[in-house]
């Protein structure tokens, strides 16, 4: 029997509250949010949802409730395999369900589902555990796994000609300091408290790695030939790359890196050639620009 006062909007708002309730269908029906839409006790559910010959109405709604949790937590586990491994299935499920309560999907694509997971973990980091501790390891893992997803499906430079060592060498020595290097759009620089990249790779290989000891780690994540690549760099290298990525000229970037590290200008300069060779071979820069004089 159709209720005169129950619109499609009301029914949809009610059903969404019920099938996404973390404590299950009966608790969803009794929740304040659902009762705001349709004032109903769970034993009167057949006023809204019919039963079948073999299944009662609550069990039928539970197909959607179970599917909501299973589908979305499974999707998160696929995007964060190392985090899932580190936490174990049960704890990961608990984290994922809490995350979905706080950050339900608001996008048409499942690719976006895990976007806020690293931030969620950081927001809920226990205050009483000194850093760097296990919560920081989990946050670092989540940050890198999310970046892997974004880099994999984000903008890339496949098919484009990238900056070469020869091109850099052709710049007149007097102008090289003014050079600005344009990084590829898929280049991401991330500073971590744990060397999570090795742990991550081991999990993806199907191994069961130990949680590593904390160690300041500077990671470059990028994409070549449609596959995500990652590599650790030294702190001065990272700072130099960061300054270049932010648009500094080469001489300003070198000065900033030298100032922030214990390396003197001379030592830094001596290492530069090797670094640039590595960076260009790895395809981290699109081109070099000399400002017009």
């Amino acid at each position: 029997m159709m209720s005169d006062s129950r619109s499609l909007t009301t029914l949809q708002r009610w059903m969404q509250q019920v099938v996404t309730h973390p404590a299950g269908i009966a608790a969803g029906i009794e929740s304040e949010e659902a009762r705001r839409e349709i004032l109903l006790d769970s034993d009167r559910i057949e006023q809204v949802i019919g039963r079948s010959r073999s299944l009662d109405s609550i069990s039928r709604l539970a197909v959607y409730g179970n599917a909501y949790i299973a589908r979305l937590t499974e999707c998160l586990a696929e995007d964060f395999p190392a985090l899932s491994h580190a936490l174990g299935d049960e704890t990961f499920l608990s984290f994922a369900m809490s995350y979905l309560q706080e950050h339900p999907s608001r996008n048409y694509s499942l690719v976006e589902l895990g976007r806020n997971f690293p931030r969620y973990l950081a927001d809920h980091r226990p205050d009483d555990i000194p850093a760097p501790g296990w919560p920081d390891f989990l946050i670092d893992l989540a940050r890198v796994e999310r970046l892997y997803c974004e880099v994999f499906d984000g903008p890339g430079v496949e098919g484009q000609t990238l900056l070469s060592v020869e091109e850099l060498q052709s710049v007149p020595p007097g102008s090289i300091g003014q050079l600005r290097l344009i990084p590829v759009p898929c280049l991401h620089l991330v500073e971590l408290q744990f060397p999570v990249h090795e742990y991550l790779s081991a999990v993806r290989r199907g191994e069961a790695p130990e949680i590593p000891a904390p160690e300041p780690t500077w990671l470059v994540i990028t994409r070549r030939e449609f596959v995500v690549r990652r590599g650790a760099v030294s702190q001065p290298e990272f700072l130099l790359l960061k300054a270049l990525q932010e648009g500094a000229s080469l001489e300003d970037a070198i000065a900033a890196a030298a100032e922030a590290t214990s390396l003197d200008d001379e030592t830094l300069a001596a290492r530069l050639f090797g670094w640039f060779q590595h960076w260009t071979r790895a395809g981290w820069f699109l081109r070099a620009i000399l400002p017009e004089s």
Binding site: G50, L61, S109
Partner: protein, 312 residues
């Protein structure tokens, strides 16, 4: 070639899934066409998009969406529609389809195909939105009957009556998922033959076939098994009623090698009386995949298709 709403009979295709990218690019299998999950490619700037570009050069592509949410009382997402339209133009999609369902309200997407109460209010709402979408996309929209697990006290008509009136009023096409008819009818104690007879057959432009999971008290549309015999019988009947249209096999969980999918859809071709499958295509035994282990995995109703990152 049968033409409905100006749309051709493409023959027998399968759903394009990332697990089969390498095989398809290397082997160029003799499949008639592919159906893609629109949302997996709309925003991609990486591997999925690059693979689709190559496949679209060689095969007809049909776009099948899971997030249009034509039945939701939230406003239609115009940004989504614009991206859908761009992808359809880029892939030269032969048609664009989605489901008679809603996926969420209040801005939330539950990524499920939730059923509507079948009544006048829902009908008016859905018809208006289909008309808008068709004008926006500048092409007919093709909508699929979903598998469902609940019925509403607010329903005043059968699903087939709702779909028939919706298709006529909105002048849209229908994607008849034969497995969904079987699943829905089992779950709601209905007769699938009556369901099939009650549809406007001239508006059906595509069939879907898939496997499901029988839980005793109900059936879940898991797309993780071969098509069962009862569904094949319904498919044969649906072909008789419609005269035969493009047929697509979906397999979205416990995905077997491409050859297995190919062999399964060739059964449909045999049933349709098209050229018999070659011996090589028949060497793959679909029955072996009937009872694949489901370790650690719940029976999740589709859609659950998700592209995973490739990392060095």
């Amino acid at each position: 070639m049968t033409v409905r709403l100006g749309l051709p009979d493409l023959g027998f295709g399968v759903g394009l899934r990332p697990q089969h990218y390498a095989h398809i690019l290397a082997e160029r299998p003799a499949i008639d066409w592919f159906e893609i999950i629109s949302e997996n490619y709309m925003d991609s700037q990486g591997r999925p998009r690059q693979v689709l570009e190559q496949i679209a050069e060689r095969y007809p592509i049909v776009m099948h969406g899971v997030s249009l949410s034509i039945g939701s009382t939230d406003p239609l997402n115009l940004e989504y529609l614009a991206r859908l339209k761009r992808l359809a133009e880029w892939t030269r999609a032969v048609w664009v389809s989605d489901h008679v369902c809603w996926t969420g309200v209040n801005g939330i997407n539950g990524h499920d195909l939730l059923p509507l109460p079948y009544n006048e209010e829902s009908l008016k709402h859905v018809v208006e939105r289909i008309r808008f979408v068709q004008e926006f996309l500048e092409r007919p929209l093709v909508l699929e009957n979903p598998s469902s697990y609940v019925t509403f006290a607010d329903s005043t008509m059968s699903e087939w009556e709702f779909i028939s009136r919706m298709a006529e009023d909105a002048d849209c096409g229908l994607l008849l998922d034969v497995n969904n008819v079987f699943v829905t009818c089992f779950n709601h104690d209905l007769d699938p033959v009556e369901f099939l007879r009650g549809l406007p057959h001239e508006r059906v432009v595509q069939f879907h076939l898939a496997g499901h999971t029988h839980c005793g008290t109900h059936i879940i549309d898991t797309h993780d098994h071969p098509v069962i015999d009862e569904v094949w019988k319904l498919y044969r009947f649906a072909r008789e009623l419609t005269g035969g249209v493009s047929t697509l096999l979906e397999w979205d969980a416990s995905i077997p090698p491409f050859e297995v999918l190919h062999a399964e859809v060739l059964k449909a071709r045999d049933l349709a009386g098209w050229t018999a499958a070659s011996q090589r295509e028949r060497n793959f035994n679909v029955a072996e995949f009937r009872n694949l282990p489901q370790a650690g995995r719940m029976n999740v109703p589709q859609p659950a298709v998700h592209v995973l990152a490739e990392v060095e």
